[in-house]
Symmetry: C2
Subunit: 342 residues, 2 copies
């Protein structure tokens, strides 16, 4: 049975996994059955049960493939987000790279603090400082130039704790889940507070999610005729849309136009997305990744400044949403090391 | 060969056509070959040639299926747009329907003009008047309530000249083209100045284009907890994004994130979308529907207030874009009458 047929056959799963290079290792292990990096606990059983019910023809919970919309937050749900959001790490690295061209930054916060390695000064600049950083690093260039800058950064930057490229700090169990759902006829979307253009640089090759299925925050772009008479889109400093918190249901409405039947997040920024998904009629799956694994990844929830999980965790408990305990429920967190990393 | 395989087999075409109810008639006729409502002129040959080149494995112009993005304007490209944009007709009908609840409208333009049938007074209210009409008819309700209102309107409203439901004034040759491209592995998107939520009510059943492949103008929506503790999205009067003219490349960038290889429009509002599509590397198809058929549809171009085609027509001539002469190139304009219309 093919992917489009919407059942979870072995052949469909292998094909789905093979289509995403990073999943080759899970494909090789799929004699273990689906979701090999998930332990046989309640979350894995809930996922398999739900996916089976909605995709089996004749099931009372059957959902036509066109309506099998699954949405995933990115930061903290598909890849790590500590000690700072990876896109912020990109922006800080970019400020440092650009500093020689901006001698005036030596005197101006938050740039001075970034160049001098003074996080307190950067933090003190607050939201206004963050917008200045974003304007300096995410605007004033064409969309194509920005894509190249992000791609170069992903090749060279390394995470301070793990020493890996940031796009290798994705969660192996979630990669398997994405591929598993697609093999069952789901359309998988990313719905993230991160920048849509930033994520698209790696979303397809890393997650198997094509650019048109990435929903995120965005800045205004302006159509202009370039110097050689060829049109370009120039990224401007003006914020257009913030796809976070209550913005996520709005983003889903605008970009997808259909209510998801499955939503996975990890923080209060995903709370409204889960509520919006849960409020539809018919079968629903709501999931939260709970970061409980200080040894293999990070442990944080109600008190964290990055990825705080508090109200959504309460509601998950009250409503029976699936909470994935990273330490308990995942055999493996990140994909095995690439040869080049060893 | 299936749709996903990306070739234009008879079986794939039949399956694609059968998936769109309104296309049943073209499926029945497909012994005539692809695009049966297109005469065997230069536009049809250019389409078949292009689609063949990009989808044939081993062709020097081969494009992988994921990159076969085709974008279509809606008003005047997929359905008619005269004597006024159909969404404006909806808004005017809606003002009339709401007027009994708004006695104050008897004294206020543009509402007074609409209720009294005085188009000059409405036109005199200009852009500010149009925004007032949109706010009164497209805001202050949930997204779901709006969808129901549009669906009801499509059932009951009739076009003043043709006496048909507006969603039966779609172009049969373009329906065939959409299905033909999908059968060849293309993803077909609508990229229209029209409201994204308005179009999604009929886009899937009429064009076979799912909601997540409809790009359009939008207003702000606000996430709220409804009276029964269930979340809703409320449509607000604030304009969020205008997907027209130079906004179309921005819309394509934000929603699709990949440059199309085929773009079809009919007016100067599509000019930048065609320029943006044309500026990519590799094979490209640029098409314009030229409304030359006063007898079967309408004839208008450079002087029209609705759907003006002037600068884009000049550039099409200079650059060899395909201009479809509706009168010359189409055997049939609209789908044959439904039984219920006879």
């Amino acid at each position: 049975m093919s992917t489009r047929g919407g059942t979870f056959s072995r052949r469909g799963l292998l094909a789905a996994a093979a289509a995403v290079p990073i999943l080759a290792e899970s494909a090789a292990r799929s004699q273990d059955g689906p979701l090999p990096s998930w332990k046989d606990g309640a979350p894995k059983r809930a996922i398999l049960d739900f996916a089976g019910r909605v995709s089996r023809e004749g099931s009372p919970d059957f959902v036509p493939p066109a309506e099998r919309i699954a949405v995933f937050d990115n930061d903290g749900t598909l890849w790590a987000e500590q000690p700072i959001y990876f896109q912020v790490a990109f922006a800080l690295d970019r400020v440092k790279a650009l500093a020689p061209e901006h001698p005036e930054w030596k005197e101006i916060q938050p740039f001075k603090g970034i160049v001098e390695g003074d996080p307190k000064a950067v933090a003190a600049s607050g939201e206004r400082g963050l917008l200045q950083i974003m304007a300096a690093t995410h605007a004033g260039m064409t969309t194509e130039a920005f894509n190249d800058i992000v791609a170069d950064w992903l090749k060279t930057a390394r995470h301070p704790r793990f020493g890996r490229p940031y796009d290798r700090l994705v969660y192996q169990p979630m990669l398997e889940l994405l591929a598993y759902l697609r093999a069952g006829g789901f359309k998988t979307f990313i719905v993230s507070g991160g920048g849509v253009e930033f994520m698209r640089v790696f979303a397809e090759r890393t997650y198997g999610v094509p650019p048109e299925q990435v929903v995120g925050s965005s800045g205004v772009t302006k159509f202009e005729m370039g110097p050689e008479g060829s049109p370009v889109l120039v990224k401007e400093a003006e914020v257009e849309f913030i796809d976070d918190g209550p913005g996520k249901p709005s983003g889903i409405n605008r970009f997808i136009g259909r209510r998801p039947i499955l939503a996975f997040g990890n923080s209060d920024g995903d709370h409204q997305m889960l509520q919006w998904t849960a409020a539809g009629t018919g079968p629903r799956f709501l999931g939260l990744v709970h970061h409980t694994d200080a040894e293999r990844e990070f442990a944080y929830d109600r008190q964290s400044h990055v990825g705080r999980l508090d109200k959504a965790l309460d509601e998950a408990g009250q409503r029976g949403w699936t909470v994935v305990d990273m330490r308990q429920d995942w055999k493996q967190v990140f994909p095995s090391a690439l040869r080049s990393e060893r």
